[in-house]
């Protein structure tokens, strides 16, 4: 394995990706003042001297925001700093009321940790900026376009989570982000809704020769507000850097914007002109000391850490590692699974089978980030359905149809099976007759199967499944086909 970076074009380049996530905390009030958080209120109706930076105003830290910060740290397995301080990050911008943001610098609330395959670098608390609404040319501002500043959002508590650059692909980034979101949702510390802005993600991307350890020049991709855009954006940037490097060019350290409509990547500003934030400890706030009481309160509020839950699902429910992980870290799925598992059904659903249905068929039918508890499907109904499949009372195909109905209308699987006539076909003459008819209708395929082309059985099976509305058991159909063909 070479330690020297290979010349461009002569070795595979591997992406090195780190994420910076801002999470708006679901506290009742802002980070440093008692204003309520705003959800679309008219501009500048949720402000006070502190969050609009009036002369003489002073910040006072929100205890609950710190509590949520500790919960995040615990969930990520981070080290919680016994003493952390706030710093001022100084820069001028119309959305920054005081001309500085109160954040944390070299003594953050949490350090280290891990979630899934990605290590956490740090977690810290800070306040959000105001919103700038571009309004174009305004008669009252001669020369340049105008913007309107709305300070409702100013001061909203944020937790900033920074990962190590452990991510190696756009897909992995998307997957991990979903894992993080599920974890944070389970903690109840945030709405973590990308569309609404309570979850924001920037990506730092660089490339290096595979197998080396030195980091290449990184770019920062900002302003992507959905999982899909993040994946596409990262993919596009990787491709851009790849092409640039293979053409013998150099990656410039800069901040980039991905336009999901055009797929184009444009530069927002050169990172070389980086701000000098002149960080210094915030003199208006005292250091935050984490005592036993605060730790205990954070731990208690979490009920069960995802890692513990995964352990429990593996041990008690006998689930596979993968299933246990997914259900533990996507809390809403885990909740649904455990509720289903606890439901008394006859015939009973096996735990792994149920887990497979939750993480497979069910998850595939939900919207991105949708909580199954919000759907019309009842956990007990899913359990009953899986039990029926296990007892071969219905085929897998039929079960999928029933699941669709349950999600759309709710109800009870047994009733739907009867109403739709989806009960499994037993090995009766009825099925044999349908198989015979299918063989006739697909004579060419039948001939190919006879000749030894096993794959040609596909369309025949498909025909039978259509004719039986999916009720037939696939294995049984194949058996009958082969039997009737004399194979």
């Amino acid at each position: 394995m070479s330690e020297r970076p290979a010349a461009p074009g002569t070795a595979a380049l591997e992406p090195v990706i780190g994420l910076e996530i801002h999470v708006q905390l679901a506290t009742a009030t802002k980070m440093f003042c008692g204003c309520e958080l705003s959800f679309g209120e008219p501009p500048n109706t949720r402000t006070c001297p502190v969050c609009i930076g009036l002369p003489g105003s002073l910040p006072v830290a929100n205890a609950r925001a710190i509590h949520f910060g500790l919960m995040i740290g615990l969930a990520l397995g981070s080290e919680l700093a016994p003493r952390s301080i706030f710093h001022r990050k100084n820069y001028f911008y119309p959305d920054q009321a005081k001309g500085y943001q109160i954040s944390q610098y070299d003594e953050p609330l949490c350090r280290g940790g891990r979630l899934g395959e990605v290590r956490i670098h740090r977690v810290h608390l800070e306040e959000d900026a105001a919103k700038l609404i571009h309004v174009g040319a305004s008669g009252r501002i001669h020369g340049s376009d105008a913007s309107i500043v709305d300070f409702n959002r100013s001061g909203t508590p944020l937790a900033e989570i920074v990962t190590e650059p452990d991510i190696r692909s756009a897909e992995q980034a998307g997957e991990w982000l979903r894992l993080l979101r599920g974890t944070l949702r389970q903690l109840g510390v945030s709405d973590v809704n990308m569309e609404e802005g309570s979850l924001r993600c920037d990506a730092n991307i660089s490339l290096r020769a595979a197998g080396t350890s030195e980091l290449g020049t990184k770019t920062e991709l900002k302003n992507m507000n959905s999982f899909r855009f993040i994946e596409r954006g990262i993919r596009a940037e990787i491709a851009r850097q790849q092409k640039l490097l293979l053409d013998g060019g150099q990656v410039l350290q800069e901040t980039l914007h991905f336009d999901p409509d055009s797929g184009a990547i444009t530069s927002l500003r050169s990172k070389e002109e980086a701000h000098d934030y002149r960080y210094f400890p915030e003199p208006d706030l005292l250091p935050v000391a984490i005592d036993e009481q605060m730790l205990a309160a954070a731990a208690a509020a979490m009920s069960e850490l995802p890692a513990e839950r995964a352990e429990r699902l593996r041990g008690d429910a006998g689930l596979s590692e993968d299933s246990a992980q997914l259900l533990a870290f996507r809390g809403e799925l885990g909740d649904f699974f455990e509720a289903a598992l606890a439901a008394p059904t006859d015939p009973p659903a096996g735990a792994q089978a149920l887990a497979n249905w939750v993480t497979g068929e069910l998850l595939g039918r939900l919207d991105d980030g949708q909580d199954p508890a919000d759907s019309r499907l009842e956990p007990a109904a899913l359990a009953a359905l899986v039990g029926m499949v296990g007892a071969k009372q219905i085929s897998v195909g039929a079960a999928r149809q029933v699941l669709d109905r349950l999600l759309a209308e709710g109800g009870e699987p047994g009733a739907i099976v009867v109403a739709e006539g989806l009960a499994a076909m037993d090995g009766s003459d009825e099925l044999a007759a349908i198989v015979a008819a299918a063989l006739e209708a697909n004579a060419d395929a039948a001939e190919r199967v006879r000749q030894g082309n096993a794959k040609a059985i596909g369309p025949i099976v498909g025909q039978v499944m259509r004719d039986t509305k999916g009720r037939a058991d696939g294995t049984e159909v194949s058996r009958l086909i082969n039997e009737q063909l004399g194979l």
Partner: protein, 97 residues
């Protein structure tokens, strides 16, 4: 005597501080700052390696606020001192980029 801070540095600092400086103000500023900085430089004489910095002279921690809502200011009050207002917000020239 070479000034502690050069004209270029003065311009750089002025930019960071968003302070305009007229041509004729740059050199006097460099001179005045240099004089003060020279005096201040004496803190460089001390051996302070083992000393912790004091960021808060108050030796206390905590002072957190309960997460309970307080009334916000009425918007007309918020905007009452604003130099320019539009659609319920503070009107400013747009930042470039």
């Amino acid at each position: 005597m070479t000034p502690v801070i050069s004209n270029d540095e003065v311009l750089h600092v002025a930019r960071l501080a968003r302070l305009a400086l007229r041509e004729d103000e740059i050199e006097p500023m460099a001179r005045e700052l240099s004089a003060v900085l020279e005096h201040i430089a004496r803190i460089g004489e001390l051996d302070l390696d083992d000393v912790e910095p004091t960021s808060h002279v108050v030796e206390v921690t905590g002072a957190l606020r309960a997460d309970e809502p307080r009334p916000s200011l009425p918007r007309d009050v918020v905007l009452s001192q604003a130099p320019a207002v539009s659609d319920g917000g503070f009107l400013v020239p747009s930042p470039q980029a």
